[in-house]
Structure formats: structure tokens, C-alpha cells
């Protein structure tokens, strides 16, 4: 097997990544806009009301994509932190620093939409149930990562220490994902992907999948933009940044 790793090494170069991110971000941005508008139309008008929950179920079009991105964000965080630790890649630490606040925001959004939905459906904004608790812990893990990375006088040590913390904390992600399977929780089980098919009617599922795609694209666009900012800040002394400023 002779796989070429040049593309991977090129990604590690800040100026290359900066240009690549600048080119890709608008594409993801427009994709996000189209998908979210279509998904919102589908979710709020096209999909029929639920036979049990009425119109209340429509919050899933925000809740499910946010919850998925909260875990996705932590996975991105932990993987890039691991790459940064193992291969000592500056780029990977920049990605980790850029994704942490973004992931924390989506975790917060998932918790807020979930509790808004929980009040009319369960009769309580909050329940100490396995999935809710583990999602809350995830939020605190994001906060811990951000706090630790900023606590050091030398930012290089801060990002490395925070990377170790991110790797230690990754155990929470499978716990959140499988919490509804392992425990008999108040939060409903998985319904979107069950084996080969799905337990959701197509008219409700299609807008949901569109929203998930839209949120993911939005996440990617924001992440690329944040990485660009992070790079400018970290490399403010580098020649390519000065060149960039002169050109602009």
C-alpha cells in the first residue's frame, strides 16, 4: 500500500489551510442557507402535526441537529487535539481552539430546545435522566477545555494541556449516544435511524434530514471562518499574514 500523505501534510501548513478555508467557507455557507430554509419550510408547514404532540414536535428540527452537532463537535475537538499532541501539529491545535466554543454553543442550544420541549410534553423543564445529565456534562467539558487552554501564560502549553483534557473527556460521547439504549430513560430512544429503515414518517423525516445537513454545513462554515481567525491571531508575526494584510 502506498498512500500519498501529501494532502494531509499540506493541510498542516497554516497559509495553505487559510486559503483553503477561505475558498470552502462560502460554499458551506450557501449550502447551509438553502438547506435550512428548505428544512424550515418542510418542518414548519409541509410536515403534518404529530398525532400525539400536535405542533410541539416541530422543535426536533432544531433540537436533533444541535444535539448531533454537540457530540460531533466534541469528536472533532478530541480528534484534532489528539493529532496535535501526537504529531505536534500547530494547525490541529488551532482547529481544537476554534471548534470548542462552537460545540459548546450547540450543546447549549440542544439543552435549551430540549427543556422548552420538555415542559409541555413531560411537564418539566428538566429531568435528571441519563441523556440530559450526560449532555450537561458535555457542556461543562467544553467549558473546562476553554478554561484550561486560557489559564496558561504560555498559550502553547495551554493548548497541549487542554488537548489532554479533551482526550480524557471523550469517554462521555459514547455514553450520551447510547444512554437511551443502556438506561431506561425519560428521553425517547433513537427513532431516526433504526436498523435499515426509520421509525419516522417520510413527510417528517425528509425535513429533519435536510435540517441536519443544513446545520452541519452551517457548523462547517462557522468552523472554517473561526479557524481562519484563529490562524490570523496565532500567526500574526508570520510573513504570510503580513503579505495578506498588504494585499488587502
Amino acid at each position: 500500500m502506498n498512500i500519498s500523505w501529501t494532502w494531509f501534510h499540506r493541510l498542516a501548513s497554516p497559509p495553505y489551510f487559510y486559503r483553503l478555508a477561505g475558498r470552502l467557507a462560502p460554499w458551506f455557507g450557501w449550502l447551509a442557507l438553502v438547506c435550512i430554509v428548505a428544512g424550515l419550510y418542510g418542518g414548519l408547514w409541509y410536515a403534518p402535526p404529530d398525532y400525539q404532540q400536535g405542533d410541539g414536535f416541530r422543535i426536533i428540527y432544531i433540537h436533533v441537529p444541535s444535539a448531533y452537532l454537540s457530540m460531533m463537535g466534541y469528536t472533532v475537538l478530541a480528534v484534532s487535539a489528539g493529532i496535535g499532541l501526537v504529531w505536534r501539529m500547530k494547525m490541529a491545535h488551532a482547529v481544537a481552539a476554534a471548534v470548542a466554543p462552537l460545540g459548546a454553543s450547540f450543546t447549549f442550544l440542544a439543552l435549551v430546545t430540549g427543556s422548552l420541549w420538555g415542559k409541555p410534553m413531560w411537564g418539566a423543564y428538566w429531568a435528571w435522566d441519563a441523556r440530559l445529565t450526560s449532555e450537561l456534562i458535555l457542556l461543562f467539558q467544553y467549558f473546562g477545555f476553554i478554561a484550561l487552554s486560557r489559564a496558561f501564560e504560555d498559550p502553547r502549553s495551554g493548548e497541549k494541556a487542554a488537548a489532554v483534557l479533551a482526550l480524557v473527556g471523550i469517554v462521555d460521547v459514547p455514553i450520551i449516544h447510547y444512554s437511551v439504549v443502556w438506561w431506561n430513560s425519560l428521553h425517547q430512544g433513537s427513532t431516526v435511524f433504526v436498523g435499515a429503515g426509520s421509525d419516522i414518517a417520510t413527510s417528517m423525516l425528509a425535513p429533519l434530514l435536510t435540517m441536519i445537513a443544513g446545520f452541519t454545513a452551517f457548523f462547517a462554515a462557522c468552523l472554517l471562518k473561526r479557524i481562519q481567525l484563529e490562524l490570523l491571531e496565532r500567526e500574526s508575526d508570520a510573513a504570510w499574514v503580513r503579505q495578506l494584510l498588504e494585499d488587502a
Binding site: 461543562f140 489559564a151 496558561f152 501564560e153 502549553s157 497541549k160 494541556a161
Partner: protein, 222 residues
């Protein structure tokens, strides 16, 4: 092996000579537990209900209090750098250090827990389960705390940060620990929760030394 024994001996001697530091978590454990009957109400049925959670939460906080100083003095006098250069793997040293710290900060809590259980009307028949759960749980918590202590050892104000980093990791241990104690108090079989506690300890024993050693190396670089 000799080096490991010397290290264990040194840590135990140091701990023994600092009686005051050893007593603090124990006193904290007792005082925090005593706050609940005073603050809530001393009704026996209420106390019996909250006893497992209170004992576990108090043990968790008492254990974490001492963690801050785990590598502190060695870091400040430069000992830690020499230890990191020693031929004995830093991972093994980290494990040994965590264990000696647990002997001073965790084991006393385990031994005291039946007494505190009595104060909170916890049924005497379930005491072995409570103490055994705490034995496994405090070991796991010590490993978590050591990761946090290693990450924050080079920072000046690290007490609160350590708690913020370690408490989220400690939540699963607290949940299953309190669950096992509550099940035992109701006369149910607590083995399911105890097995999970054991699994978390095994996972911690295998992986935590690498995280602690890695974090110590990063702290030494800064």
C-alpha cells in the same frame, strides 16, 4: 523495582510527617456530612433517603480537596523534573504517587464511611456495600483528580480550575456509587452498579497513568 519502592517509601513518609494535611479531608468529610441533617431536617426517614448521595458527594469533594497539592511541592522544588528524567517510567511513578495519595486521602474516608452512615441512619446491614463501593470509587476519583492536578500543577491559582476540570469526569462514578449504596440500603442487589464502578476503575488504572504522565510532561515544559 528498588526505585519504585524508594518512591513509595518517600511519599508515605512525607504524608506521615504532614499529619495536619492528612486530617483536613477527614474533618471536611465529617463536617460536610453533618451540614445536611442540620440544614434539611433531622427526620430519620429523610436522612435514610439522602444518606447514600450525601456520603458519596462528601467523599468526592473531600477527596478532590487534597488533590491540588499532589504534585505541587515536587514541581516547585524541581524534584519533578528529576523524577521525569529518571529511568523509572513516569507513568508508573504517577500510578504509585496516586496510590500513596489515596492511602492518605481516600482510604480514611472509606474507613469512616460506616460511622457517617450511622449518623445518617443508613441501615447497618448495608454498610459493607457502602464501604466497598467507596473503596472502588475513591480509587477511581483519585486517578481522575491526579489527571487534573497534573494538568494544573504549573498554574498559580489552580484550586477552582481543578474542580471544574475533574467534577464532570467524576459524575458517572458518583451516579453509580450512590446508586449502589441506595440499592443496598433498600435491600436490593447492588452488584450491577458495583460492577460498573469496577469497570470504571479498571479503565482508569489502564489509561489514567498515561494521561497523568503526559500532562506532567506538558506542565514541565511550560
Amino acid at each position: 523495582m528498588n526505585a519504585l519502592r524508594a518512591l513509595l517509601h518517600r511519599d508515605l513518609t512525607l504524608a506521615y510527617r504532614r499529619w495536619g494535611e492528612l486530617m483536613t479531608p477527614i474533618l471536611f468529610f465529617i463536617l460536610v456530612t453533618a451540614l445536611f441533617p442540620l440544614g434539611l431536617s433531622p427526620r430519620p426517614e429523610l436522612l435514610r433517603e439522602i444518606a447514600p448521595g450525601v456520603v458519596w458527594a462528601a467523599a468526592l469533594l473531600a477527596g478532590l480537596l487534597g488533590q491540588e497539592s499532589l504534585f505541587r511541592s515536587d514541581y516547585e522544588d524541581g524534584c519533578l523534573e528529576q523524577l521525569a528524567l529518571a529511568p523509572l517510567p513516569l507513568e508508573l511513578q504517577a500510578l504509585a504517587r496516586t496510590f500513596t495519595h489515596w492511602l492518605g486521602a481516600g482510604l480514611p474516608l472509606v474507613i469512616l464511611s460506616p460511622l457517617l452512615g450511622l449518623l445518617l441512619q443508613y441501615p447497618a446491614a448495608a454498610m459493607p456495600e457502602l464501604a466497598f463501593g467507596l473503596l472502588v470509587g475513591t480509587l477511581t476519583l483519585s486517578l481522575h483528580g491526579a489527571i487534573g492536578a497534573a494538568l494544573t500543577v504549573s498554574l498559580k491559582q489552580n484550586g477552582m480550575l481543578l474542580l471544574v476540570l475533574v467534577l464532570p469526569l467524576a459524575v458517572p462514578v458518583l451516579i453509580f456509587g450512590a446508586q449502589s449504596a441506595a440499592q443496598a440500603a433498600r435491600g436490593e442487589d447492588p452488584s450491577g452498579a458495583l460492577y460498573l464502578l469496577g469497570a470504571m476503575l479498571v479503565l482508569g488504572l489502564v489509561l489514567a497513568p498515561f494521561a497523568i504522565a503526559g500532562a506532567l510532561r506538558i506542565s514541565l515544559e511550560s
